[in-house]
Symmetry: C2
Subunit: 422 residues, 2 copies
């Protein structure tokens, strides 16, 4: 070092101006009375020798200090291989991209291993020419790149019955957001030639569950992608290697993994996964169905129960994610008092359609308790509702499509708890 | 299946209309005479039982079929821990994001392990108040999110002397592109208060090399990020955990990993890494210095020597990456004949400033040899030059800043070779 300053003193400038507590907290967490900080005044071991060379890790993993940032399941809820779910650690992530390695999984008969040589994709039904594609065939078609969120319809489903799970990972972690590359489904359907009476497609996977779902032709010809790559590299096994469907803005159950067949039909198949499941039982005993689009939703990821704020009073970053299946997020509001007062959050970058948007509220915390909430507003003007408003309309029988406003009670010690306010 | 079609026949519609060879190649790679494809007609093992449950991999890795998609080094060139480099497998990636796990590394004394509790960042020199930040302190400041490429100045450096390395990974793989989240350097400098005579910053890392570099204040106050997260998660150890500098559009050597100190100075320090290295020796014996900005550049990633085209004639996808340190890529041209004729490529999505842009040429290949080239054009109007044009100006002494047009000779068998054309 060319200049060793005296022990850092609190600054009263700029960002911290006028917030005396915060300025104190910025002094490297040390009181002057503690004496010099050896991490500053002494040459540390990691500056005295060589680190790892470039042949140490041909494919890297997160550093061991971050070993808590992993997918987690809830034993009693989700760990059966017949029908299994885990959750993205959204409380510990930042920005908008979800790394594949910690992106949530939802399997109906487990994640299968399917090689490219063994891969086939059939298009049949009401087409002029049934076709079977190998992986190498698919590589011939023009590709596009798009970033989209994938949210399980059951995300936040446990919250219909009140605040139950302690952590954004568990309440809102059945979501991920990746940059996909693949071939437009429209291109492949045009290749086979859809007959005039073909108004739907039925899509299924190569796993034992097959997880078949019906999609209206209008959507199939719009923005659906037959994807090979996520975040620049091949899909991981658990995300459908080598080929999955990307259905922007629509519930994750339609995003068929290990995609094996697309049948053009003249109506919905009304398959198991769209009748016994993925419908919403209303108070009058009837069920909403074809509720594909994910409504605008948001959640504060930090602070949250798994991400307490340990720094104490002063400047703090309140941050979270917002998304909508109907285009772009245009605004996110944050409340510190359980929805009585709202202030507009700052959106990071330009929100992309049907993709996660990161929001921030740069706040100076006085150390008193907060009831943190966020509400998303999308380009259609839709405003994320309260949980009670949702229950008034849909009752308590639903499992899916809970996009109600989430509340975290942040206590003076910075810990947070999942609560409901009314 | 509800409908088993007869063996797929070639389609003459849409994308393949009029390309008889291609249509034949699309018939799942099988001649009708070979009989039914058991992958279509028989229920396969992976559809007969359960796959992996969700507790199989808390943090996932690429499937073993993709084990070739890793960082690689070149023993004689790069494997010494004192000064080591490896290369991103760009020939096997798609889209624009580079996963951290296979993003190239360049270390000057190896990758060190530095925990958040042990982390300190000092700002000193010509400031009103020297400061030391802990990691927890940094978490208090407003954050932003931006996607940027990081290219080593020596990327393609071996090509000054002619076509030498066989593969886009080795010729152009000292580049990666990630979504970063962190605090603006401007914010931290404002916190310390830059004195009027403070016109440069000197930045260094916590590793033994320290890798100190000087950056003009104008850039430091512009778009430089003190980053904690890449692609949504914590930086990996080898990418500077817990904090690195992101210097958009400027050579990777400035992107200090394990950032430990920022000294405000009244001029450049002229440190080892910016005098003995990272300057460009010209034919007249003088050296260009402060060549921070990365000029517009592009490369075709597929087909390329490590990514031969195995499908034969017919529709093919020619794809690659383009970037510029001066803003946005506005156009990429592709030549099939070594630069005699050019056609405009299709850009994926909206190019972001100082970020990788993916381009495509959807081509119907007649099976004859090609001399594939791409040239990038950026928003300043700059056009990527030929290697010879570069050599005419800069001679043959340079190591850094080779952004000349790359040529792949694609042979009738689909294999590709690094060649030069004049």
């Amino acid at each position: 070092m060319t200049d060793t300053p005296s022990l850092p003193k609190p600054s009263r400038r700029a960002f911290l101006r006028g917030t005396a507590m915060a300025a104190g907290a910025l002094a490297a967490g040390r009181a002057a009375a503690e004496g010099p900080d050896p991490l500053i005044t002494e040459v540390q071991p990691w500056a005295q020798g060589f680190g790892d060379g470039v042949d140490a890790v041909p494919y890297g993993m997160p550093i061991h200090f971050e070993s808590h940032v992993v997918r987690r399941n809830v034993d009693w809820l989700t760990a059966d291989v017949v029908s299994s779910i885990n959750f993205t650690p959204i409380h510990a992530l930042e920005g908008t991209i979800t790394p594949q390695g910690c992106a949530f999984e939802r399997h109906h008969s487990g994640a299968i291993e399917l090689s490219k040589p063994d891969y086939r994709l059939m298009i049949n039904g009401l087409v002029e020419q049934p076709l079977v594609f190998t992986y190498a065939d698919l590589e011939r078609f023009p590709r596009s790149v798009q970033t989209n969120f994938c949210e399980c319809a059951a995300n936040s489903g446990m919250e219909w019955g009140g605040a139950q799970l302690q952590g954004a990972q568990f309440t809102h972690g059945m979501i991920h957001n990746m940059e996909y590359t693949g071939v437009s489904l429209r291109t492949l359907l045009q290749e086979a030639g859809v007959k005039p009476e073909g108004t739907w497609v039925y899509v299924e996977g190569a796993d034992a569950s097959s997880n078949g779902r019906s999609i209206p032709m209008e959507k199939a010809l719009d923005d659906v992608l037959v994807a090979f790559f996520a975040n620049g590299e091949a899909l991981r096994k658990e995300h459908g290697y080598p080929v999955r469907l990307v259905v922007p803005g629509w519930e994750g159950n339609l995003w068929i993994k290990w995609l094996r067949r697309i049948e053009v039909t003249d109506g919905p198949v009304e398959a198991r996964e769209e009748t016994s499941k993925y419908t919403d039982l209303m108070p009058d005993g009837r069920a909403r169905k074809w509720t594909w689009e994910m409504d605008a939703k948001s959640v504060i990821t930090s602070p949250s129960p798994q991400a307490p704020w340990r720094q104490g009073p002063g400047p703090m970053v309140i941050t979270g994610l917002a998304w909508t299946g109907r285009g772009r997020i245009t605004r996110v509001d944050v409340s510190l008092d359980g929805g009585k007062n709202w202030q507009e959050a700052r959106l990071a970058g330009q929100p992309e359609p049907m993709a996660l948007t990161r929001f921030y509220l740069d706040h100076v915390w006085d150390g008193s308790e907060m009831l943190l909430q966020s509400r998303a507003i999308d380009e259609t003007g839709y405003v994320q509702p309260t949980k009670d408003a949702l229950r008034d309309v849909r009752g308590l029988n639903s499992v899916y499509h809970n996009n109600g406003i989430q509340t975290w009670w942040v206590k003076p010690n910075g810990e947070a708890e999942n609560v409901e306010v009314s």
